[in-house]
Amino acid sequence: MSNVGLVLISHSPKVVEGIKDIITQVIRNVPIELAGGTDHNEIGTSFEKIQAAIEQVYNERGVVLLYDLGSAMMNAEMAIEFSNYENIKIADNVPLVEGAYVAAVESGMGKSLDEVMDAISKV
């Protein structure tokens, strides 16, 4: 059985690449995909990139989306609405770096989607 997947969303591709580097130094058994920047890798977020990232990490255990600033959240919500999956959650008002790290640790221990969400809500 797979672990809960993570999608890291930022206005900058470099931000999420850096966070993934930090996480994978320690944790390598968690599906993590990045949705940083616009379709042209400029500053912004992309609804289509988020959709594609969800498809990559999706499994029956569920997916957590973590984001940095406002419009990323709106694109994340739309990506979920347009997907046909039920068990995807957005980490709302959770700091991206710390939240992603804690989510990866918890997911790597085989925790459920709800348990991962509970842990990051305390970040």
């Binding site: 912004g44 609804f47 739309m78």
Partner: protein, 205 residues
């Protein structure tokens, strides 16, 4: 009023022209209180919209609005993508299978406004595009007959009014008091949208 299929496409073409012409201006407004990308994002989005519309055959206004929505969602990048995208998606749903007369359109813009509020978790008085959409919705609901000039006046007054508001949503909210006295870029681009619509209605009248 009656918005025909051709009108809906003309509306988007006029809107695109206004956005391209005012790209620098919108960017300047956004540099003052936001992240400075509104002009570029809207110009990219509406450029894609008119490209898409020009190569597709449509059967209804609802289908046009749906493609506008999907294109803006995918191509804009900033907060205006999901917000304008949601607005057009709601208008598409509200006009599905219907002739777009004033009553249908009033419902459509109201659904769009509710969609924008829900998507942005925003309401009136926060210095966002809601402050233009809300009075325009009210205008379509209460006017007996929509006069293009009256529509422009309504949207234009709403934009001016937005200057006096302190931002509490979006990137401008980080500036607090410093946002007072500036025009909200999303309100200005919404003004262009309704000004474009008025020009289409004027031609059809």
């Amino acid at each position: 009023m009656l918005l025909s299929l051709k009108d809906s496409i003309d509306w988007m073409n006029i809107m695109n022209q206004k956005i391209q012409d005012n790209k620098q201006y919108l960017t300047k407004l956004d540099q003052a209180i936001g992240d400075g990308d509104h002009g570029i994002n809207m110009a990219r989005g509406f450029n894609e919209v008119v490209s898409k519309l020009s190569v597709t055959e449509y059967e209804s206004v609802s289908d046009v609005f749906k493609d506008v929505a999907m294109t803006l969602m995918g191509k804009v990048g900033g907060a205006s993508g999901p917000l304008y995208g949601t607005a057009f998606l709601k208008m598409s749903l509200a006009s599905k299978g219907k002739e777009v007369d004033q009553q249908v359109f009033a419902t459509a813009v109201n659904d769009a406004l509710q969609g924008i509020k829900q998507r942005g978790k925003s309401t009136e008085g926060e210095k966002t595009l809601v402050d233009v959409w809300a009075p325009v919705v009210n205008f379509f609901q209460k006017e007996q007959e929509v006069l293009p000039n009256a529509l422009i006046n309504c949207a234009s007054e709403a934009v001016e009014e937005s200057k006096t508001i302190k931002a509490t949503k979006g990137r401008a909210a980080y500036l607090g008091e410093r946002s007072v006295g500036h025009l909200d870029p999303g309100s200005v681009s919404s003004f262009y949208l309704f000004e474009s619509l008025a020009e289409v209605l004027e031609k059809g009248a």
